[in-house]
């Protein structure tokens, strides 16, 4: 059992959720209610990580993070080290490949709010911020929770993108999914099996929490 790899995975998942949630909330609202040209293109682009093979996504991210790209150089200047094969690079990649997992549940939840509820709140004199915190968020809460859980669980389990962008540096980019692969390659099936079981239990627990919250929230939402 590699505690360091597990800790790194949890840290990566926590940071991903913390950084991605505000942006995904904003994007989910725009996609749910916005009417603008290019909306469908934006929606499709944000869903791309769902269908793209992780190695393809990883390849493009690696190219973008490398010293040959403007983005990669800009980051290297700020961070003092290249983005690729670092925790920061891994986090950046994680933010991107989790976009659909964070946005879609919340978008669906916002879309499910009855159309006149927000105008009604405005007519009650509630400010846009209060409408967001007191009406939209409580109503979309199950979707927000789903987004958090899915993002967290998906980050723990992601393998292809992590391997392409981060490699396998202990304490820096060696996540538990990489560690499992590494242990299997070394015929250490006992260790691999233990870690796989931990990941299975964590993922299952997360999904159960998300699903049961959704179920409980439903009767209260009414029409």
């Amino acid at each position: 059992m590699e505690w360091q790899a597990l800790a790194l995975s949890l840290k990566l998942a926590a940071w991903t959720v913390a950084l991605l949630l505000p942006a995904a909330l904003a994007l989910a609202r725009v996609l749910a209610w916005g009417r603008f040209a290019g909306r469908h293109f934006l929606e499709a682009a944000l869903a791309l990580p769902l269908v793209l093979p992780p190695t393809v996504l990883g390849y493009y991210l690696l190219s973008a993070f490398g010293a040959n790209s403007a983005l990669g150089r800009a980051f290297a200047d700020v961070l003092g080290h290249p983005l690729a094969f670092s925790f920061a690079g891994l986090l950046a990649a994680s933010l991107i490949f989790n976009l659909p997992f964070a946005i879609q549940p919340m978008q669906r939840a916002f879309e499910a709010i009855p159309a006149d509820v927000r105008p009604a709140a405005a007519c009650c004199g509630l400010s846009p911020w209060r409408i967001f915190t007191e009406i939209e968020l409580p109503l979309a809460w199950p979707g927000v929770l789903s987004a958090i859980v899915l993002t967290f669980a998906h980050t723990l389990g992601e393998f292809g993108v992590v391997l392409m962008v981060g490699g396998n540096i202990p304490g820096e980019t060696r996540t538990i999914a990489i560690a499992i692969y590494d242990r299997v390659q070394a015929f250490d099936t006992r260790s691999a099996g233990l870690m796989a079981a931990v990941l299975l239990v964590l993922s299952l627990a997360a999904i159960v929490v998300a699903y049961s919250t959704n179920r409980r929230a439903e009767p209260a939402r009414g029409r």
Binding site: P114, D116, V117, P119, A120, A121, A122, C123, C124, G125, L126, S127, E134, I135, P138, L139, P219, A220, R221, G222, R223
Partner: protein, 377 residues
């Protein structure tokens, strides 16, 4: 500008929904916006609330300008002080009744809000249900919560968007009575959107007839139903007997006008505004048509007598609706209503010949307007 509490609306735009509407509503008055679906009723209501934004026009309420395309004034819904009851009520599903009302009490000091919310719920007969969520309330109860929430803001204008459309008939009758009772305590203009003419006639002081975003006529319900401004309004308010004729004589001294219709000369109420030879539309309410009774001929039969064949005879409870195909070049039908026992005694049935008199004072002339596509509503 004055501060008399009046709501004054002037709106116009070509798209997305054509609008050319103008009306006022006095404090305490109920004005019904009526018209077929797609006539722009709800859009106008949303413009007043600040949820939709017309291209051109002005919206003033109680001396305050809420919208003015000329000065680019467009206050947000939060700054307009409107109470709006939505068609599906749009209650906050995660909040109970009292919290729904409190949400609109932001302008009052915090400690007084719960008390005020309870008062409002009591005024709409919902005491005891304060802690039910919308899903736990019936349709009628939800409507009452929506009404209490709309009034919670102490609004300068109360807007009701088809507030009775989503409840059953019995509940609707009850809610009518409650609104009629409640409005006596309300001192702001009340605008009621409804497609139901009977509802409008029953609840409103004045009606505004809309068609494709245009206000065609504003007036008291009885006037609109008996003296529609033109044939289109007559069709929109579901008048049956709308015909075309030509003005034949104008006699100012006898205060009589006559028109030609179906080869007949009809004496009509004096309408000096129409020139001899002008094409006019005319209408007569069912109450202005007197059936010639076989059992008891009367002198009134000499007034505009017409004859024809009964083509439809429909007994609906105490009244029988009779459609009479009038003798003449065109197959025009006159609809009249007689008490069912009279219809029976006179042997009225499909195929029977019958005569009727059109009371001159009941005949209302209107400017002739192309009654083609536009009038098909």
């Amino acid at each position: 500008m004055d501060a008399d509490g009046r709501l004054r609306i002037r709106l116009s735009q070509r798209s997305p929904i054509p609008l050319d509407a103008a009306f006022d509503c006095a404090p305490g008055e109920v004005l019904a916006l009526t018209g077929p679906s797609g006539s722009g009723k709800t859009t106008i209501l949303r413009c007043i609330a600040g949820l939709d934004h017309p291209r051109d026009g002005t919206i003033e309420c109680a001396g305050e300008t809420w919208f003015d395309s000329g000065t680019r004034t467009d206050l947000s819904p939060q700054r307009r002080s409107v109470g709006l009851v939505f068609q599906q009520y749009a209650l906050f599903p995660h909040l109970d009744a009292v919290q729904n009302v409190i949400a609109a009490l932001g302008h009052r000091p915090r400690p007084t809000r719960i008390e005020r919310a309870r008062e409002l719920l009591a005024s709409v007969h919902l005491s005891g249900l304060e802690h039910r969520r919308p899903a736990e309330l019936s349709g009628g109860q939800q409507q009452r919560v929506a009404m209490a929430r709309a009034l919670a803001r102490d609004p300068r204008v109360l807007l009701l968007d088809e507030p009775f459309a989503a409840v059953d008939r019995v509940t609707r009758q009850k809610l009518y009575r409650e609104l009629a009772e409640l409005r006596r305590q309300l001192a702001m203009p009340i605008v009621l959107v409804t497609h139901d003419l009977d509802e409008a006639a029953m609840l409103a002081d004045r009606m505004c007839i809309l068609h494709r975003g245009h206000t065609l006529q504003v007036g008291v319900p009885h006037e609109i139903r008996t003296r529609p401004a033109d044939a289109l309004v007559a069709r929109l308010v579901d008048l049956r007997n709308v015909f075309e004729g030509v003005v034949r004589t104008q006699d100012a001294s006898a205060r009589r006008t006559s028109i030609e219709w179906q080869g007949l000369a009809l004496e009509v109420a004096h309408a000096p505004q129409f020139a001899v030879g002008a094409r006019v539309a005319w209408t007569i309410p069912a109450s202005g048509i007197v059936l010639h009774r076989r059992d008891r001929p009367s002198r009134g039969e000499r007034e505009n007598p017409v004859t024809g064949t009964v083509v439809e005879c429909l007994a609906l409870g105490d009244d029988t609706t009779v459609a009479l195909a009038i003798d003449g070049p065109a197959a025009l039908q006159l609809t009249l209503r007689v008490p069912t026992h009279v219809a029976r005694r006179n042997g009225l049935a499909t195929g029977v010949r019958a005569g009727a008199s059109l009371l001159a004072e009941a005949i209302h002339l209107m400017p002739w307007r192309e009654m083609g596509r536009d009038a098909q509503v």
